[in-house]
Every structure is written in structure tokens, then in C-alpha cells.
């Protein structure tokens, strides 16, 4: 019966029958209870920390750089070529103010597991990082002179390929790499202080997310700030760099001074999972996308104790809010299905919303530093489209198409400039 000389049909039938006969076992009764007990206690991994949001990965494969790169390179080349139509090439030595409008500088992108930067017209591409280890999460400093990134560690697992990594800072031309902290676990994308002196991030300490502030020149070790008894993550600096807003155990948003003192809860309503938050450029309020019993909605939370304002909508979710660089407009995604999103631009109070044409993915849309364009992504199909929209709806939208592996990053969180800011 199990003769190795059996025909392929016989072998196929035998294998099928054997497996079906062997599959009669029932799972232990306690198993579902164990699963539900563990999941009730487990914190959801924030969308922006999932590896597929940062680098194209095959989760079952060991880390060997980034596979299937040709489509990414093609897409990036197309993106850079299109941006030149409206972007001013920034090469002046003067530095931009840390917040507000700035000229569009160079574009940083990931290719072949390394960080590159090129002029917006695609010219003068320079590879900034080298080696066999994969780089991820590039973040320009607010003055555009340096980049912080995560260098993925071999200690990461195939299931979580970006779990461990070193935090590194390099100059805009890739020179002078400075190790900031080695072997961080579950690190959030680094956030630069407006003056460029500090880096802010959360990382796992054991199984608890904690917030750290590190000197961007590596001159002092990272310092933990905030309450070590709570789960604190996704920190961001206020525009003046004196305060830090962060999420607490997926239910609240809190603020503290840069040294960790004076911790205050900003929301009084019960928030479910918080999607994202961004400071208003004037520093007086934060726009938050947080789940309620109905759906994810936008909220304005205020630093002066004013009760939060709920921008409630019926039957749809609002996520990924982002202020324009001048603070005059608010950009966000809406959805009634959870898969396809509409891009909305409203005034600074969230009113007079305008529907932008097209449908997009749940990938944060990005303002250009000069505020003249919005980059939005649709990568639900096998062909990704990056659309560069005029928020005024005057200039024609530029659509860039390119084959893209599912899960690739085009535009990361809107508060992480992929486009370098330079002086106007």
C-alpha cells in the first residue's frame, strides 16, 4: 500500500486519506479559554510599529535584507521624478525654523534594505547607510541636517523582523554615524526635538513600553521619563520642545514636561484604542484619532484644561489626522468600510471639510513641507498608486503607478518627514 513505487495518484490519495484520518483530534477544552485570557491582557501592536508598515518583508523568511526590490526602486524613481514638477530644490545653507512652512528638500527612502536620499527630481541619489543589516524608520531632523534611523538587529525574529534594533544618527550625507542606543526592543519611530538636540521614542522594557529621551549627539545615555508603572508609548514633542505627549495603555493621552515631571491626563472621555495624535503647530492642542463605542473619531484635546471636543460623525471612522505645516488645515482619512479610505481636508477647526478625489489605503497621508501637496497612497491591489494632490483642488493631481509588494511602505506617519525640510 505504501510502496514507494505507487503511482502519483495513489500516493496523493493515500496522503489525503491519512491526513484526514489523523485530523480527528479535538483541541483541548481549555485552549480557547487560555487564548482569550491571554488576548484580553495583551496590548495591540500599534499599526505604525508593525514591520509591514516600514519595510517589505516576508514574515516566514529569515532576515536577508529586503526582497523584491525592483518594484520599490521603480516606484521611488517615479515618485521622485513626479515631485520635481512642483518642488523647489532646497540646497541653501540657511536652516528652516523647526515648525511651520519650509521648502521641500531631499527625499529619503528605503531601498535594498538601506536608506537613500535624492533630490526631488531624482537626481544625485546617495546611499546613506551600508552593510548587511537592514535599516528602517528614517526620520529627518526638523532642520534637515541629520537622519535618525533604526538598524535592525539579528536578534529580531522572523515573526517580528523589526523587533530589535540599534538607534543610529547620521548626517544628511550619511557621514558620521553615531550610535544612540543598541538593541532596543519594540522601539517606536524616533521623534526629533525641535532644536535637534534630543531624540524621543518608546521601547519595551520587559513587556512594558516606556519612554526614553536620548541626546542626539550620543553624549549621554538615554534617560527614561514618565511613570514606570504604566504602559507609555508613541511619544511626540510639543512644537517648542518643552513637553511630551504620549499614549497610556490605549485608553488615554497624557502630557509631561521633557524631564518627565508634571504628568497630566488630557482626555476625560473614555478612549478606546488610539490611532494617532499630532500637535497643533501652535502647541495649544492635539488632534487625536481614538476609538469610541461607535468608531474611530477625531478629538481635539487641549493643554489648558478645556474639555476635549469630539468631532463626532455618524457611520464612518476618521483616522490619521495631520495638520498642514502652517496649521491652517487638517487632513485625515475617513472610511465606512475599514479598507478603502477617502481623503478629507478641513479647516483648522475640522469644519468645512472638502472631499479629495480618489480612494486610498490606511497609510498616513503626508504633507509636503511647503504645504503645497499631499501624498496619499493606494496599495490595496497589486499595483500601488501614489497620488500627489493639491489641497486646494486647483492643480491637477499627479498619479504615480508602480508594482509594489503588499505591505511596502510609501508614506509613513505624517509627523515623520520623509521629505527633508529646508529653508525657504
Amino acid at each position: 500500500m505504501t510502496s514507494p513505487n505507487a503511482s502519483r495518484d495513489d500516493f496523493d490519495r493515500l496522503m489525503t486519506q491519512w491526513m484526514e484520518a489523523d485530523a480527528h483530534a479535538r483541541e483541548p477544552e481549555h485552549l480557547i479559554d487560555s487564548v482569550l485570557e491571554r488576548t484580553r491582557a495583551a496590548r495591540r501592536i500599534p499599526r505604525w510599529l508593525l514591520p509591514e508598515r516600514w519595510i517589505p518583508v516576508q514574515l516566514t523568511m529569515p532576515l536577508r535584507g529586503v526582497p523584491r526590490l525592483a518594484p520599490i526602486l521603480l516606484l521611488i524613481a517615479l515618485l521622485l521624478a513626479a515631485i520635481v514638477a512642483f518642488v523647489i530644490v532646497g540646497s541653501r545653507p540657511r536652516l528652516p525654523d523647526p515648525f511651520g512652512l519650509a521648502a521641500n528638500g531631499r527625499v529619503a527612502f528605503l531601498s535594498n534594505g538601506q536608506i537613500h536620499a535624492a533630490n526631488p527630481d531624482g537626481s544625485n541619489p546617495i546611499q546613506l547607510t551600508f552593510g548587511t543589516r537592514t535599516a528602517a524608520m528614517p526620520v529627518w531632523s526638523r532642520d534637515g541636517t541629520r537622519i535618525a534611523y533604526k538598524l535592525i538587529s539579528p536578534a529580531s525574529t522572523p515573526e517580528e523582523p523589526t523587533l530589535f534594533g540599534d538607534l543610529i544618527v547620521v548626517n544628511a550625507d550619511g557621514s558620521n554615524p553615531i550610535p544612540i542606543e543598541p538593541e532596543t526592543k519594540g522601539m517606536s519611530p524616533a521623534v526629533w526635538s525641535p532644536d535637534g538636540r534630543w531624540l524621543l521614542y518608546s521601547r519595551l522594557e520587559g513587556t512594558v513600553d516606556q519612554i526614553y529621551v536620548a541626546a542626539a549627539d550620543g553624549s549621554s545615555p538615554p534617560t527614561r521619563v514618565g511613570n514606570p508603572a504604566t504602559v507609555n508609548w508613541a511619544p511626540t514633542f510639543s512644537p517648542d520642545g518643552t513637553k511630551i505627549a504620549f499614549f497610556v495603555q490605549s485608553s488615554g493621552i497624557e502630557v509631561m514636561n521633557r524631564d518627565g515631571s508634571d504628568i497630566r491626563r488630557l482626555n476625560t472621555s473614555a478612549f478606546g484604542e488610539i490611532d494617532s495624535a499630532q500637535w497643533d503647530p501652535d502647541g495649544n492642542r492635539i488632534v487625536v484619532s481614538a476609538a469610541t463605542s461607535e468608531a474611530s473619531d477625531l478629538w481635539f484635546v487641549y493643554l489648558d484644561g478645556t474639555p476635549e471636543r469630539h468631532l463626532r460623525t455618524v457611520g464612518r471612522a476618521e483616522v490619521s489626522p495631520s495638520w498642514s505645516p502652517d496649521g491652517g488645515r487638517l487632513l485625515y482619512l475617513t472610511s465606512t468600510t475599514g479598507t478603502s479610505f477617502t481623503l478629507m481636508v478641513a479647516d483648522a477647526e475640522g469644519t468645512n471639510e472638502q472631499v479629495m478625489p480618489g480612494q486610498y489605503s490606511y497609510v498616513n497621508p503626508t504633507w509636503s513641507p511647503d504645504g503645497s501637496r499631499i501624498a496619499a497612497v493606494n496599495d490595496l491591489g497589486s499595483v500601488a498608486r501614489v497620488t500627489l494632490l493639491d489641497p486646494d483642488g486647483v492643480a491637477e493631481a499627479i498619479v504615480i503607478e508602480g508594482a509594489l509588494p503588499a505591505g511596502s511602505l510609501i508614506a509613513p506617519r505624517s509627523d515623520i518627514p520623509v521629505w527633508q525640510r529646508t529653508a525657504q
Binding site: 502519483r8 508598515r53 514574515l59
Partner: protein
């Protein structure tokens, strides 16, 4: 119905996830058991896959792909358990055979208990990659494209992996068949 549950679970509704877990856990356990050939490890793998699903639901782009995505998490969990198994192996000692679970009714099957043992021994000789692709092909009935999506490799890789797995299984059966013949030769 499932899409609605997945969307609710993606939005953080644990009750919806619980329902999905209850529907899925039996099949996950069976698949893990087929791959790992070990009840305890299958239990760990199916549990880890569901916990990972809850933690990583934000990364799911299309709710209609939940099943394939969940299988991918399960395969990852099985690989992890298999690696643990390799580390444990050096500490294994021979123990008395455990009582066999009640065998299902094999009427209508083309094999008997001896064949079943032979298949079991042959299958255990395969590595976890080969076992996984055979389970996907013969038990789950996945197409090459579907298996490729779950494994995160191109369909061509699945095809060659399946081909090698079938050859390896046949070779294992052949080697197993030789043993009684050799024993017979020694006894005469």
C-alpha cells in the same frame, strides 16, 4: 458575517475576536498537530497564532484575507515550535509508549494500521518546511498560489518545495520498507 467580525475585531472589539477564535481554533489545532506531530506543541502553536492575530490585527489590510493571514501566523508559530523541538531533542530520553488515542474509523481507507505507522514514521523524517507544504497541499487543499501567500514565498518556490517534499516522503517510505527486508535477511 466573518468580514463583519474581522472588521469589528480590527477596531478593537474583543468579543468579535473571541467569536473568530472559537470558529478557528479547532482547525488551527488540527493543522498544527499535523505539522508538528505533537499535541502539546500544537496546543502552543495554535494558541500563539491566535494571540499574535489579536496583537497584529492592525496589520491586516484586507478583512477578506483573514483566514490566509491566520494560517500564515500559524505556520510561523509552528516553525518556532519546531525550532524549540530541535533544541529539546538533545535532552530526550526513551520512555514507555504513550497509550494510543482511539483511532478513527478507517473503513473506506486504502491503508491499515501498519501503513499508518509507516506513513507516520516517514512523515516525521521530513523537515518542518516539507511537512508544512504537504499539509497545505493534502489536508488544506491549498492551491500553489494560496500556499505561496500563506508561506510568503513565490508559487514557484512552493511548487519545488512540494516536489522535494513528495520525493522525500517517498524516499522515507522506501527506506522504511527496506528495514523489515534487512531484518528478514539477518534472521535467516
Amino acid at each position: 458575517m466573518q468580514r463583519d467580525l474581522v472588521e469589528r475585531a480590527m477596531a478593537g472589539d474583543h468579543d468579535a475576536f473571541s467569536e473568530l477564535a472559537r470558529v478557528s481554533i479547532g482547525r488551527l489545532y488540527v493543522v498544527a498537530r499535523l505539522i508538528l506531530r505533537d499535541d502539546a506543541r500544537a496546543e502552543d502553536a495554535s494558541q500563539d497564532a491566535l494571540v499574535a492575530a489579536w496583537r497584529r490585527l492592525n496589520g491586516l489590510r484586507d478583512p477578506d484575507r483573514f483566514e490566509a493571514w491566520l494560517h500564515r501566523l500559524l505556520v510561523n508559530a509552528c516553525y518556532r515550535e519546531a525550532r524549540k523541538g530541535r533544541r529539546r531533542r538533545s535532552f530526550e530520553v526513551q520512555v514507555d509508549a504513550l497509550p494510543m488515542p482511539e483511532a478513527p474509523d478507517a473503513s473506506g481507507m486504502d491503508f491499515d494500521l501498519a501503513d499508518r505507522d509507516q506513513l507516520e514514521r516517514g512523515f516525521r523524517r521530513l523537515d518542518v518546511d516539507q511537512r508544512t507544504v504537504l499539509v497545505m497541499h493534502y489536508y488544506l487543499g491549498f492551491s500553489l498560489d494560496a500556499a505561496a501567500e500563506v508561506l510568503g514565498v513565490p508559487p514557484g518556490t512552493v511548487r519545488s518545495r512540494l516536489h522535494r517534499a513528495i520525493n522525500a516522503m517517498r524516499a522515507a517510505l522506501e527506506a522504511d520498507a527496506r528495514v523489515p527486508a534487512l531484518n528478514e535477511g539477518r534472521s535467516t
